[in-house]
Symmetry: C2
Subunit: 225 residues, 2 copies
């Protein structure tokens, strides 16, 4: 969704190709030749091949010069951009993903992993909220790819924390999300999925495609303990 | 360690300031003003402030023009660099970290989280090994910051997988690590910690500083289930 948002904001022409992860489209040799990690999104642009949503945002911002405050190599602004983009990419995203997995999709509801990832997801979102309390945006005092990266996960905060009222804890995130949601590009990005309906069922085949480790044999070390 | 490796490889002057995470140095207001995420490493460079090890590698490579193959914006080489750097930053690092946590530091040895992260860590390392089987390096056919990023985690593969012989499964990673380890810059990077001894005990105070969620109250949703 954040890549779609950038493409729409920048007015770039693109073709959206649906990869239905519940059906295992991400595991085909054709898709693995583009992204060996077997995850969406991925992008091809002439002879360039890019995967990982945050890598794609940075690539497109550099390519177009848009939504990237002062991209001078070695500047304080570049340092700020790279630090916060990586904070979202390596912290907010992974911990939010683990929080969703253990709260909703793991074979059992295990108290300690739920507690660990609830704590870490909240801690990361609080840092984002504190950051936005300053100038209203993640970097450079203006709308950038780092705000777009936050928009990719933040609407799922109530879902990941298992609390419909959770956005009330993060008023600055809620405000920025409302601002982005009101932009015509966001509506156009959301409309893509209505043109490409995916198989919706979370059946066992989908679980095998999404979480293969559930069905894998136990590792030797876990067996030995 | 990977930031120290870059600084030594590039011959940059720097001052290493020890942040003893077991003593909680990462949680002081002074350090939080540099990195609000309370993690090491962080770097200041004139008026630039950078945190997250991979953000620092990219910042320094752009600043110096070193260990960064053809950094042209919008090029296929830039796409390749950003994709693989993000793969290491958002996949290899986080999943390796969770694998270590559940195998060694969580309050209980829980079978499913150990299995999930053993599977995901191995899957990521296999992708790295397959990648290195090609031209011997992660991107551009030459030694770059992405190889340095891999070097930051790969020596801990036996530790994280709980298997002293685990490197035998990843011969191309083992070869690259041996190549990097043989470089004088790697020896100089490793020597830094001998000049800055840290408190070595994993006592309860250290656990509270490193894994505060263990001591946090249960989240409401976990209690309700």
């Amino acid at each position: 969704m954040k890549v779609a948002l950038f493409l729409e904001e920048a007015g770039l022409e693109y073709e959206a190709i649906p990869i239905d992860t519940k059906l295992g489209d991400q595991h085909t040799p054709t898709f693995r030749a583009i992204n060996p990690n077997g995850k969406v999104p991925a992008l091809t642009d002439g002879d360039a091949v890019i995967f990982d949503s945050n890598a794609i945002l940075l690539y497109l911002a550099e390519r177009t010069g848009k939504f990237l405050p002062r991209p001078d190599a070695g500047s304080a602004a570049r340092a700020e951009l790279l630090s916060w983009l990586m904070f979202v990419a390596t912290g907010v995203g992974p911990y939010s993903g683990q929080c969703v997995h253990f709260r909703l999709f793991a074979p059992e509801r295990l108290a300690y992993p739920i507690k660990r990832y609830d704590f870490e997801a909240r801690r990361h979102w609080q840092i984002v909220d504190d950051r936005l309390a300053g100038t209203g945006h993640m970097v450079g005092g203006t709308y950038s790819i780092v705000d777009m990266a936050v928009w990719g996960w933040a609407p799922r905060i109530p879902f990941m924390l298992g609390d419909e009222a959770a956005m009330a804890e993060f008023p600055h995130i809620a405000r920025l999300m409302a601002e982005i949601d009101a932009r015509p590009a966001a509506a156009r990005a959301r409309a893509i999925e209505t043109r490409h309906p995916f198989k919706g069922d979370f059946d066992e085949a989908a679980m095998r495609n999404l979480y293969p480790q559930i069905f894998a044999p136990d590792p030797a070390t876990a067996r030995a303990r």
